[in-house]
């Protein structure tokens, strides 16, 4: 499959304030680049990410959604990411039924110290989404204009 370089996917990244958002800041501080297609939304914890947000993003034309949180065991709120992990595991397995390829959704644990991981994760994720091409299946037709 050839990678469509022209295609600029819309990627929504939900990052928890304490680890992953800080990890993204560290990636910035270390000048570790990743595609500008990634736009970060700061949430206090990965457990704040409601499946509604993810579906909303796809509805509005996102091509990929990634959720980043503290490593299991390191949640600032001690247990938030464990709940997030279960929720996303189930949700993702259902999105498959509605035609969202599993490569379009991802959960990654990125600590505040893992600027490198943040950047490589985003690079990988974006190229995986690019390879899939635009998300046409779960978009709302009314959102095109």
């Amino acid at each position: 499959m050839s990678i469509n370089q022209e295609f600029k996917p819309k990627i929504v990244a939900f990052c928890c304030n304490w680890c992953s958002y800080a990890g993204a800041d560290l990636a910035g501080g270390s000048r570790l680049s990743y595609p500008a297609d990634v736009k970060i939304i700061r949430v206090p914890c990965s457990c704040r990410v409601n499946p509604m947000f993810i579906l909303r993003a796809f509805e509005r034309g996102a091509d990929g959604v990634i959720i980043c949180g503290c490593h299991p065991g390191d949640c600032h709120y001690s247990t938030g990411n464990y709940y997030a992990r279960r929720r996303m595991t189930l949700l993702f397995s259902m999105l498959d039924y509605l035609g969202i390829e599993k490569e379009r959704t991802r959960v990654e644990w990125v600590s505040a110290a893992e600027g490198v991981k943040f950047s490589t994760t985003m690079n990988e994720f974006v190229s995986a989404v690019r390879e899939l091409g635009p998300n046409r299946r779960l978009g709302d037709l009314r959102c095109k204009d």
């Binding site: 929504v12 680890c19 993204a24 910035g28 500008a36 704040r48 034309g61 996102a62 709940y83």
Partner: protein, 662 residues
């Protein structure tokens, strides 16, 4: 109608180099609700803040977006600025154009396009922001220090000296910690006990300090200023009030097979014991796994010899519940288990020992009364080999990835002490690097080489093989000579890595403090807030935060104390207003939120609800704002969407999603 102001910071050239800030301003002006947009060199500067304040006042802005560096950097700055100008501080949103845009994207078109979108998202969010007001909570003027080593003792002393009450919880029968086990300290070679025991005595005697020895923290609830802690005082079987510390019981105890923890298992102790002679409190404990009376109701000798009548076999664990305003974690370290390093024959030969064991051997109160001798046959060693970095700096998953920091110095100390006392003993140190940053540290190491003739060889040891003649062959390499070496040794000392005490994981969970992959507690900021945990009111002292030597530990202990004092000096604390809030009209009272709340912040009340004219009593969720930390777990578990998070509401996040996907 909204009046939103957008302020785009150049951050010198940090942002402006890869983001066309003028374009961002221009595009921001087109967004609904935006009535003001400008750019400036440094928004966080005084002049920059003044511009913001002026715009807020003059244009009566209802919300502002600052497009600048990470909110983790300057959100507080801009909130304060807004507040001064008369705007609610929570009407401020930051678009992170530096760390998450200009610094990671090189192409100015891409950078600008993304900056515009991030700004748009922040505008969309801020237009849904509502004014939030911090609540107030009181401060219990007492601190808890978990761990009674040098870190805990110093922190407690400093806090107590400032006039606040401190409780120390120490899991072993005596305070003192690892430092009490050390023989001498580098680089001055002071006797460890000589400098530590006075501090222990000070702590015990201090009217503001209360020591819970042989106790553990069982449960922590509450929040900064108002923690409630359950402390389990383990049954000592000795009445602390009656015991005079005469020691008769320990002498008479017939069960003497237990390995002495204090002597690193190199000697035995009785079932009723104090860990060491200078123990504080000087009250023994009975080890129920060893005591014949407690095990099978025989013996009872100690009870008979105790003139004070202090022995109480019926004693049970006791839970003490106390309130604290602040908690300091000073749980210290352990030496790692060497199971993964069989090549060094630690498990095969008694003459392969760890450095901490050597400390005990060298110590006059130790198992050999301070004589340097082989544990296998009691003979004096002629050749001693030290192996550095055992389990430290390992990337292979067997050991620790970090440098344990103290080994280079204590090995130099050991080498010097040995060569000083036993000049005929040859000492070889196999090292990878010798790391001696610290005052007088390198000089100390050089003295070992230059004055004491310690043979430092660069190269890690491959393996140690015990020989039939009782000797040990050390298979090493001299990388500088490019030669393989086989050194015959009588004793091998391993500088084993140190790791945080295993309890710290449990304690951190109770405190909701985060822990890194190595079990060190994460500090709130690695450089700027090194003694605070991200959880408000929880502070860090000593090795629980990262490897450090005694001077560093003591300085950090003092620093943690200062932070605690600063907190306890306040009468009221402001609480985070970004808490969860239940919409009573939508709440089902189903308890889903209660089940996921890590702080026990949610309770239920039967309330009379007026739902659009329908009046009925309903079970509804109520959030305790002082307990809620704002994680949002409840908001997602709530099916009806009754539970929302202030400052990160559903509609705000959806607005951001919409803005990004537009």
């Amino acid at each position: 109608m909204n009046g939103i102001g957008v302020f785009v910071c150049h951050c010198g050239s940090n942002i402006a180099a890869t983001v066309d800030v003028k374009k961002v301003v221009e595009m921001a002006k087109l967004e609904p609700g935006v009535v003001h947009a400008e750019e400036y060199q440094y928004m966080c500067s005084e002049a920059g803040q003044e511009r913001i304040a002026k715009a807020i006042r003059e244009k009566k802005l209802s919300g502002i977006v600052v497009c600048s560096c990470s909110p983790r950097m300057h959100e507080t700055t801009f909130r304060k600025c807004a507040e001064k100008a008369g705007l609610n501080p929570y009407m401020v949103e930051i678009a992170n154009l530096r760390e998450q845009c200009s610094w990671v994207h090189k192409d100015i078109n891409e950078g600008t396009e993304k900056a515009v979108i991030l700004t748009r998202a922040a505008i969309a969010k801020v237009s849904l922001n509502t004014s939030l007001y911090a609540g107030e909570s009181g401060v219990t003027k007492r601190a808890l220090v978990i761990g009674g080593g040098i870190a805990g003792i110093q922190t407690a002393l400093d806090i107590a000296d400032a006039g606040y009450e401190v409780d120390i919880v120490e899991k072993t029968p005596s305070i003192g910690g690892k430092m009490a086990q050390l023989d001498k300290t580098f680089p001055t070679l002071d006797c460890s006990a000589c400098i530590l025991t006075p501090k222990m005595v000070d702590a015990a005697a201090h009217e503001k300090i209360n020591i819970y020895s042989y106790s553990e923290v069982e449960k922590v609830s509450g929040f900064v200023g108002d923690f409630t802690v359950d402390i389990r005082k383990k049954a000592r079987y000795v009445n602390m009030d009656k015991c005079t510390g005469c020691g008769a019981c320990m002498e008479k105890c017939p069960s003497k097979k237990a390995l002495s923890e204090f002597n690193s298992g190199l000697s035995t102790r009785p079932a009723i014991y104090t860990p060491f002679a200078q123990a504080i409190p000087n009250v023994p404990v009975i080890d129920p796994s060893q005591c014949l009376k407690l095990k099978n109701d025989k013996c009872g000798l100690c009870e008979r010899v105790c003139q004070a009548g202090a022995i109480d076999y019926k004693q049970e664990d006791e839970i003490v519940t106390r309130k604290y305003g602040a908690i300091v974690v000073a749980t210290g370290f352990e030496v790692i288990k060497l199971d993964n390093y069989d090549e060094y024959a630690y498990s095969q030969s008694k003459d392969v020992i760890t450095s901490l064991e050597l400390e005990r051997i060298m110590n006059a109160a130790g198992p050999t009364k301070g004589h340097l001798e082989r544990l296998s046959d009691g003979k004096a060693p002629k050749n001693i080999v030290f192996i550095q970095c055992v389990g430290s700096r390992c990337a292979d998953g067997k050991g620790k990835s970090y440098c344990s920091k103290i080994c280079c110095m204590y090995t130099a100390k050991h080498a010097i002490l040995i060569r000083d006392k036993y000049p005929d003993v040859n000492v070889t140190v196999f090292y990878i690097d010798v790391r001696t940053p610290g005052k007088n540290f390198d000089e100390f190491y050089r003295r070992a080489v230059e004055e004491y003739g310690v043979n430092y060889v660069k190269g890690q040891v491959g393996k140690v093989t015990p020989e039939p003649n009782g000797k040990l062959t050390v298979h090493g390499v001299d990388l500088l000579d490019n030669k393989q070496l086989k050194v015959e040794a009588d004793m091998v000392v391993l500088a084993a890595a140190i790791e945080p005490s295993p309890e710290v994981r449990n304690i951190a969970t109770m405190l909701t403090a985060s822990i890194d992959t190595n079990n060190f507690i994460t500090e709130a900021h690695p450089k700027l807030r090194p003694v605070e945990s991200p959880t408000a009111g929880v502070f860090l002292s000593g090795i629980c935060q990262g490897p450090k030597d005694i001077p560093e530990t003591v300085s950090q202990a003092g620093a943690a104390a200062v932070k605690v004092i600063g907190l306890l000096a306040k009468d009221k604390l402001l609480t985070n207003p970004c808490t969860a809030k239940a919409d009573e009209l939508l709440c089902n009272g189903c308890s889903a939120c209660f089940n996921v709340c890590p702080y026990g912040a949610i309770s239920y009340e039967d309330k009379l609800i007026n739902d659009h004219g329908v009046r009925e009593t309903r079970r509804v969720a109520v959030v305790n704002n002082a307990l809620c930390q704002g994680c949002g777990a409840c908001t997602v578990t709530c099916p009806s969407g009754a539970m929302d998070l202030q400052g990160f509401s559903n509609r705000q996040i959806i607005a951001e999603v919409d803005a990004i996907c537009r």
